[in-house]
């Protein structure tokens, strides 16, 4: 229900003043998502795979993660898509750990790391905040996810 809390808070005039927001007096309320934009979206690339191919080769650090209880853009969708990149595997699939528990599973490819977050939904840091933070720290450090507790 958390997005309804945000809609209450960010429509408060004192919050908008404190944030220097809505200075032009927008004629509609602040909403978490815009119906107009989603319904009238014009151009949408069919696939991101060519961009991934190009950027993975350019040396950028790329991590793709997936909360495994999401059914909207689920883990099987991501895995199926990524498999078509045909990237060589650097580190084979293994469980990563935090707090004496499996935090998820990961596989490292040449130019890209894939990781799941066990028990997390679409918004991974909302449902599994600690696991998400461990994942982010590993990403920033450029290190593989922890193999042991």
């Amino acid at each position: 229900c958390t997005e309804s809390y945000a809609e209450k808070y960010f429509n408060r005039p004192d919050v908008q003043r404190a944030m220097h927001a809505n200075v032009t007096g927008i004629r509609y309320k602040w909403t978490a998502c815009s119906d107009v934009l989603i319904k009238t979206w014009k151009d949408s690339d069919k696939t991101m795979l060519p961009i991934y191919k190009e950027l993975a080769a350019s040396g950028l650090r790329i991590w793709i993660f997936s909360g495994d209880t999401d059914s909207v853009v689920p883990v099987t969708a991501t895995r199926f898509s990524l498999s078509h990149l045909n990237l060589p595997v650097k580190t084979r699939w293994y469980p990563w750990y935090t707090d004496n528990q499996v935090g998820g599973w990961t596989e490292v490819y040449k130019g890209l790391t894939f990781a799941t977050v066990r028990g997390a939904g679409h918004e991974v840091p909302l449902f599994e905040p600690k696991r998400a933070l461990i994942l982010f720290r590993s990403f920033l450090a450029g290190k593989e996810l922890p193999r042991s507790y």
Binding site: D14, V15, V36, I51, E54, R61, W63, E123, L133
Partner: protein, 262 residues
């Protein structure tokens, strides 16, 4: 720095005391159309925020707010209480490790706006990536302390488009400079929209393997749906609609084992 100081947030209503700085405001990305994007920067809560990287967080939709989701539900330092009267601290905020820049993009999302109404009806991937790049360049001239700083992009869902598209734009833009001001080091995306065809097959497979839909629906969807075409057939529509309307039940599709919000 005067412009930067104008954007400083003294304190948000209902906010607990914190030691890190926050800024928010608008950056104009298209003068003639009057498109302006709204950002919220929450600096790192570490004792040395100037040594920490900058992370730009984008949400998906398309059309959803980075402030609503990324900042207030996911990685930001504050959570909002039920009545919208107070904020409390997020124990696992990512601003321990990075300076977080939340961007409401494209124009029409959250506080971001355009003075040209037609902009709201012809937004798309290409303009969003271009506006986001312009935003970053202009934002860095307002916050020059972040020029050359290690920079990362993150996001989820439809930001699976925004994030790599912006990374590519930055990569191409940076080719003209020997020492680019946008020091892009990498990006990470979660539950990201990646490929229409493979995502769709993977999604239907997830529904079936998690016992959300019947064998019959699974077989019908795979039989009738051609996920490579723009317009789906009526048979495909019917098969998917049957599964969603008669088999899914009232679950939170974004987190299938979580109680729904009543």
């Amino acid at each position: 720095s005067r412009e930067q100081e104008k954007d400083r947030i003294k304190a948000l209503p209902g906010q607990p005391k914190v030691a890190f700085s926050q800024y928010s405001g608008y950056v104009n990305v298209n003068q003639s159309h009057g498109r302006a994007l709204f950002y919220w920067l929450t600096e790192s809560s570490s004792p040395s925020p100037h040594t920490k990287p900058l992370l730009l967080w984008l949400n998906g939709g398309p059309g959803c707010s980075s402030i609503a989701y990324g900042a207030s539900e996911e990685i930001g330092p504050f959570r909002i209480n039920k009545t919208g009267s107070n904020l409390y601290l997020n124990k696992f905020a990512w601003n321990k490790d990075a300076n977080l820049l939340f961007l409401e993009s494209p124009a029409g999302v959250g506080y971001s706006y355009t003075n040209t109404s037609s902009d709201l009806k012809d937004s798309g991937d290409e303009r969003t990536a271009q506006d986001n790049l312009i935003f970053l360049i202009k934002w860095l001239s307002r916050f020059p302390q972040y020029k050359y700083r290690d920079f990362y992009i993150a996001g989820e869902s439809y930001a699976g488009h925004y994030v790599p598209q912006l990374a590519k734009k930055i990569n191409d833009y940076n080719k003209a400079f020997s020492k680019p001001i946008i020091n892009l080091k990498g990006f990470l995306v979660g539950n990201a929209v990646t490929d229409n065809q493979y995502d769709s097959i993977g999604t239907v497979t997830y529904w079936w393997t998690h016992a959300i839909i019947s064998d019959k629906s699974y077989k019908s969807i795979l039989k009738y749906c051609n996920f490579t075409v723009e317009r789906v057939s009526d048979d495909c529509d019917n098969a998917v609609n049957y599964a969603m309307n008669h088999e899914f039940g009232d679950i939170d599709q974004y987190s299938i084992y979580t109680p729904t919000c009543v």
